[in-house]
Amino acid sequence: MTTQPEKSTGFAATDVLVSEFDGGPDTVQRAISTPEEIQPHTELGLKDDEYDRIRQILGRRPTAAELAMYSIMWSEHCSYKSSKVHLRQFGEKAPQNTRMLAGIGENAGVVQISEDLAVTFKVESHNHPSFVEPYQGAATGVGGIVRDILAMGARPIAVMDPLRFGAADHPDTARVLPGVVAGIGGYGNCLGLPNIGGEIVFDPTYQGNPLVNALSIGVLPVSRLQHKEAAGVGNVVVLLGARTGRDGIGGVSVLASATFDEEAEQRRPSVQVGDPFMEKLLIESCLELYDAGLVAGIQDLGGAGLTCALTETAAAAGTGMRVWLERVPLREASMSPTEILASESQERMLLIVTPENLGQVLAVAEKWGVWATAIGEVTPAEADGSPGRLVISWNDHVVVDVPPGSLADDGPVYARPIREPADLILLQADKAETLPRPSTGDELRETVLRMAASPNLCDKTWVTEQYDRYVLGNTVLAQPEDSGVLRIDEQTGLGVALSVDGNGRFARLDPYEGAKLALAEAYRNVAVTGAEPVAVTDCLNFGSPEDPAVMWQFAEAVRGLADGCQQLGTPVTGGNVSFYNQTGAAAIHPTPVVGVLGVFDDVSRRIPMGFVPPSAPGPAPAS
């Protein structure tokens, strides 16, 4: 069953004949009968031992579709295989906290801010895609983080964008920066989300590897909190939002999980294109569905597309799932089952709904003009009580039959070797005390002028003017303030403050202290507005985890952030790790970016950065 926007301009996927593909898709049946077939697992980024483990889990070779799914889900980006062992500290050292309703492991952390209201917030990276195609990379970065917020049951209410570029006068910066800023503005403005702050840092370390991080925050009634579990045997699996195309096939695993180099040029087609208008419709339809109580489970489709959403929702519930892939509405009829599973087409959500509610769900989708299609159903656990299986067919061919947990939860975990960078002692010895200092008035003047004119300190309005900070009418403070402040509740004056900060140069000198400093800065920025800091999100931007020096920086930064959070009493509620930010052998400065959330009982008590003129804003015109 499909509802369509006012008019179908497409074709039905069922028009495609199996015979259009050489001998049809690689089925489970075929995999059993051709155990020795050579598979391109290395090209897909899987190590030999990882491939062996897949064969062991399945008791046969994987089908082409299964292989693609494992390669995606076991990629660094999706599996956190190098960072997991370190990130545990955020949980272990988490301060006692009664506000947190959802934490690490969910799409985004959820923090209760009053008896009946909660906010959810998270920062994520879209570094590699933004280097390849700055506008779309940055735009879809905003789109992706907003869907994470939406998936928790929240209405997204603002975005922020910590950015890092190479030298301001480098030609590549002239290519990347305008595109990134236009992309963030283009998507966020069109979505109607105020941009309430961010960072723009220039440093040659980011030359071949700019950092585009995006943060979003949303608000929800506590009772509307959503879960991703595909619970309830017999429930219907619904794909909501845009049609599926060949966007970003292999994007996550290819772009975000390997060192970035000249070869990236050839990978360009894997970049996704965003449609903020569709996302706006998706937001409105999801919120209407939540409020009507029609959603049993929900998960956004981000990088890793359907593969990730299907396996995570099923694994979280311990259920199985049966999916008919030919039902997925396609933009291009000729897509293979593997492509459909790997597509990173934007603006899609996966819903689990009861059969009784399906009709109403489709009606809401139709009202907003988005596609909604029942593509599968939730199936029981195995007879022995072990979790169910994810079985996916395509035109009557079973192309996938896997335990979903093996993809979503039981990926490889590595305790990678760590070693302090050899040059660190020298770097640390080169103290600021040895720098020349201005000693005359003229020298002082020259220094001040140079600082004022430096790209890192100069006025940022040429960027921030391209962002809408007024939309939704609840922005209390935004650029050029140190924190963004939002009113949450017009009646009570309940509000929040948010600041996001990081300093890669500090972290390069001492990643432990550097992470703590980033935390302390964001914490201070929130505190000085008058808000009480309550929770933390982070985006950890680092080089290759396969480099022990980078891994040491990572381990130290995580330890620093976890210790800092413990000392300040603010838990990390969620975040993102971005590895492989390097060009050739040269890694970027370790760059932990930290967001701190604060709460106001009465946001009218916020303290702005500048002096407030004695008179309040002028009176209303005569009426």
Binding site: C190, F277, Q466, V471, V603, P617, S623
Partner: protein
């Protein structure tokens, strides 16, 4: 009796909630209207809010003009119903030929959001009768396609007939001809404005309270005191 101001939501409307809030703060009851429903539900005035209706595909406002609700609004506006188009709403009014001219890409090619000083040039409209002639107001501007263009004859006519409602001061944010920020139709009941009065109605969230006058003016107009005069309202 409380006046009822309708605020239309198109797919992609963004400032509809803010316009409704401003109408309430101004003293009216805000009534939400849906693009697909031609019924105006007996409202006394209509606001077309800012945003990116239909994703602003093609040209801003080009598709919204064909929404079922617009047919009713165009007819009612011709009959005297006060209509205010803000930003995307202004673009829709031009596309629907309720106002002359067009809004094109900002000359500097960027989206621009800043607090903008304006001068109210005409207080002879349903939406500006509460301002003092020549009054300067500070309200946010935020758009990517806010550059007002029309041919010379139309511009001259607008000036001669006192239909330029507001002009940009201290810097034209988008390259609009003759610094035009807002215009009105001949009857003064339909006003299109590029900057956002609805974002300047509360001390906590706006740069001033200067936008409130638009939402209080229309109440005076409806009460018979201002331009736009008596009219049946609604359908």
């Amino acid at each position: 009796m409380t006046m009822r101001i309708g605020v239309v939501t198109f797919p992609g409307s963004l400032d509809d909630g803010d316009a409704a809030r401003a109408a309430r703060i101004g003293g009216a009851e805000a009534v939400r209207l849906w693009h697909g429903d031609p019924d105006l539900h007996g409202v006394d005035a209509v606001i077309l809010p800012g945003g990116f209706s239909y994703g602003d595909a093609l040209r801003c406002g080009a598709i919204a003009r064909f929404a079922p609700v617009m047919e009713t609004i165009v007819a009612a506006a011709r009959g005297g119903l006060p209509v205010l188009g803000i930003c995307n709403g202004f673009q829709i009014l031009c596309e629907a030929h309720l106002l002359p001219g067009a809004l094109t890409r900002n000359q500097h090619l960027h989206f621009r959001n800043r607090d903008q000083l304006l001068r109210i040039e005409s207080t002879d409209t349903a939406w500006t009768n509460g301002y003092a002639p020549g009054q300067e107001i500070l309200i946010p501007v935020k758009n990517g396609e806010g550059c007002y263009v029309a041919d010379e004859r139309t511009l001259d006519a607008l000036e001669a007939e006192g239909r330029v409602v507001a002009r940009y001061l201290e810097g034209n944010p988008n390259g609009s001809q003759r610094d035009i920020a807002a215009i009105t139709n001949e009857a003064g009941n339909v006003v299109g404005i590029m900057p956002h009065p609805e974002h300047a109605v509360e001390a906590l969230t706006g740069p001033s309270l200067d936008g409130l006058g638009f939402f209080t003016s229309v109440l005076r107009a409806l009460a018979g005191a201002g331009a736009g005069g008596q009219h049946p309202g609604g359908q």
